[in-house]
């Protein structure tokens, strides 16, 4: 359990530091496997119910096989292999990751005073994944990395839920999983469309619709 949580945290660190998109996709797939194993450990080795088993198989199947396959396809289609010049460099990203990890540790420490938490390390890993997912979403330019960031965020929420021990019935869990899967699938399809329409996957060049950009443009016109 602790081992899985640690591996999750390390995979996030690697994601923050990796500039190769393919490596990032593999890393997220690896996270999917870890997440799939997590419910089994939470349930306890003695009594793994059918529910936990179904959940974990679905998880691994969707998050570490199907989605990475789709994203890899999108990657090869677009020809972009690297995240070039993110808004925050890779070294700084890892450094921020360390800070975020410390912050998650602090938050969990604070939370422990108010409630009994079964596994604080998994909870820290969960928070850290949420944070690093958000970080990836904010600081990276490529639409593909944003998708990965969202997936990491979602994984983090899942881990948090597991470690808080909030158990819903399997139907709800499966429903949540399905929603996330369809969401990423749609994003994957949109990646193809973005690549075809724009010939690139750089989201920071999406600025046709910004109100602020319009203002600047009109000001420039006025200035001339």
């Amino acid at each position: 359990m602790n081992g899985i949580a640690t591996l999750l945290a390390i995979s996030c660190m690697l994601l923050l530091g990796s500039s190769r998109l393919l490596v990032s996709i593999r890393m997220v797939a690896f996270q999917g496997v870890l997440l799939g194993l997590l419910p089994l450990f939470v349930a306890g080795s003695g009594h793994i119910g059918a529910a936990a088993l179904i959940l974990s198989i679905t998880n691994i199947g969707l998050k570490s096989i199907l989605l990475p396959w789709l994203l890899t396809k999108a990657l090869f289609e677009s020809g972009a292999r690297r995240e070039i010049e993110p808004f925050i460099g890779f070294g700084t990203s890892i450094l921020s990751g360390v800070v975020l990890l410390a912050v998650s540790g602090y938050i969990v420490k604070r939370l422990q005073t108010t409630a009994e938490i079964s596994s604080s390390i998994t909870l820290i890993a969960g928070f850290f994944m949420v944070f690093s997912g958000l970080f990836l979403l904010i600081t990276r330019r490529k639409a593909l990395t944003q998708t990965l960031g969202f997936l990491v965020l979602e994984n983090g929420v899942f881990t948090t839920g597991l470690s808080l021990g909030s158990e819903f019935s399997v139907y709800v869990e499966l429903g949540i999983l399905l929603d996330v899967f369809v969401g990423i699938f749609l994003m994957g399809i949109m990646l193809f469309h973005i690549d075809r329409e724009f010939d690139h996957l750089d989201v920071d060049r999406f600025n046709e619709l910004s109100d602020l950009a319009v203002d600047i443009a009109s000001n420039e016109e006025a200035g001339e």
């Binding site: 808080l164 909030s166 929603d179 369809v182 994003m187 973005i194 329409e197």
Partner: protein, 492 residues
């Protein structure tokens, strides 16, 4: 109970079927039929004979009654409208993506997604379990993204991408909120529903409830378009096809709002959390009002202007609920009024767009001469959306000010009125420019945007909004009061 399940499942089935229908005509008729069946069943369900349904998963109370009928009504209007709209905006044959077979016809996807969207919204409204509600609200995002990308161009793609990413992230945070809420409950609680939690409010842990509320507010608030998480909203609402914009603005925002209201319902039962929740709602409400007031001034795009107006009205709703008392009932009434008026305005903007082929305010002139019916309705819609008597929006906005003043929140009341004034000025200049003035050089054929089916839904919606303003029938009043009571408020 069966009706409630049917409301959710029927559109899914027909939606999937319509993917495989090749005939355009049959598919459209199916959409209309489903819309009317859905409306009929919703009215039947809300007619009261069934009483309160209070299941672990699916239930029906005054809140869901109100929102269900609005949603169903708007969907019927939009579906009717989209019949003609799809003809005016011919579909593109979507190219097959390598390895991924998609139905080539984007109209088929449109029809299917519209129905899935309806189903997702019904689920979000009817579900009582917090987890199930989350699934419903996330599903609305998924079903509506292809609708926003209907036009298959760069701008709509950009809007769809932003919508998808921002809303998904927001909703993922809301899921965190659901988990935290589960932490707040203890083993005494068997039903993870608003009613179930309020019943055992004594066992709830206040700290966790507060944390959960923050996550719900930020998460569903993103979807609802509260500033500063509203950034996707103007893009998505302006780039989507007009009937979809009407749905997004009129129905979907309400569904997200309902998500916040559900946890608010729990917070009300816990004294410490209620004050906290109210403060947050007031802050976010005022912020949304301010942002929309600023961005609506000199807005060059009239569909974006309508979108910012939605941000404003969501701010009013949050503010109303935050003020408490009879302002909650007023907010409920306002939700209904805003939905009707905003949907009709978006549908009308579709008419304008079809004729002028531009979303720029400066390209549209002399609307009243070129398109007399649309122009007149457009102007009426302006009065309705800015809360001018005798429309129902005036009553609700006025009731909110009254509560603010009565409770002594002078600052809130002043800021509220100031921002409303800003929005009024901003919208006034835009609407005046569009409706009056001389005809431009280019001749426009106004008749293209004025067919019967394009005019009927806005007329119905605006008339309803007008009638509700003049006289509030008992069943409406009862529903609104019931909803307000659920949220710890007073009757109107």
């Amino acid at each position: 109970m069966i009706t409630a399940y049917a409301l959710i499942i029927l559109p899914v089935i027909t939606g999937v079927i319509s993917l495989f229908i090749s005939s355009e005509r049959v598919r459209r008729n199916l959409l209309i039929i489903v819309a009317f069946i859905h409306l009929f069943m919703s009215i039947l369900l809300c007619n009261g004979s069934a009483g309160e349904l209070n299941g672990i998963w699916i239930g029906l109370d005054a809140l869901s009654r109100l929102f269900l009928v609005i949603t169903s009504l708007l969907f019927t209007g939009s579906a009717t409208y989209s019949m003609v709209y799809l003809d005016k905006h011919p579909h593109f044959n979507g190219p097959a993506i390598a390895g991924l077979r998609m139905p080539g016809n984007s109209n088929a996807i449109f029809a299917a997604c519209m129905q899935l969207f309806l189903s997702a919204m019904s689920l979000a409204i009817l579900s009582t379990h917090f987890g199930l509600q989350w699934i419903g609200i996330e599903a609305t995002t998924l079903a509506s993204t292809p609708l926003i990308y209907y036009h298959r161009n760069r701008r709509s793609l950009e809007a769809a991408w932003k919508y998808m990413i921002i809303c998904s992230v927001g909703i993922a945070l809301a899921l965190m909120g659901v988990f935290f809420l589960a932490m707040a409950t203890s083993s005494h609680v068997h039903q993870f529903t608003p009613a179930g939690l309020s019943l055992f409010s004594g066992y709830l842990k206040v700290e966790w409830l507060k944390v959960a509320f923050i996550f719900f507010l930020v998460g569903y608030g993103t979807k609802m378009g509260l500033a500063p998480m509203h950034t996707w909203l103007p893009d998505a609402h302006s780039e989507a096809p007009s009937p979809v914009s009407a749905m997004l603005s009129g129905a979907l925002l309400n569904c997200a709002f309902l998500g916040i209201l559900r946890i608010y319902q729990v917070c009300v039962a816990v004294p410490g959390a209620a004050v906290f929740a109210n403060e947050l709602l007031i802050i976010f409400g005022l912020l949304s009002l301010a942002v929309s007031g600023i961005f609506i001034l000199h807005q060059p795009d009239y569909k974006r202007m309508l979108a910012y107006s939605s941000v404003e009205h969501m701010g009013i709703l949050a503010l109303g609920v935050g003020l408490g008392g009879s302002a909650i009932a007023a907010a409920m009434l306002h939700a209904a009024g805003h939905s009707l008026v905003k949907a009709s305005l978006f549908l009308l903007s579709g008419n304008v767009l079809a004729v002028y082929a531009s979303k720029k305010v400066e390209d549209v002139k002399a609307l009243l001469k070129a398109m007399p019916l649309t122009g007149a309705l457009w102007l009426a819609g302006f009065f309705a959306i800015t809360g001018t008597p005798p429309f129902t929006t005036f009553n609700s906005e006025f009731a909110i000010v009254r509560v603010a003043l009565q409770s002594g929140s002078w600052k809130v009341a002043t800021l509220y009125l100031l921002f409303l004034l800003l929005v009024f000025i901003g919208m006034l200049t835009i609407f005046m420019h569009m409706c009056f003035g001389k005809k431009g050089e280019q001749e426009v054929d106004g008749t293209a945007g004025e067919s019967f089916w394009q005019i009927l839904p806005p007329v119905v919606f605006l008339t309803t909004a007008l009638l509700l303003g003049l006289y509030l029938p008992d069943f409406v009043r009862n529903t609104i009061d019931g909803a307000a009571l659920l949220l710890g408020g007073k009757a109107l």
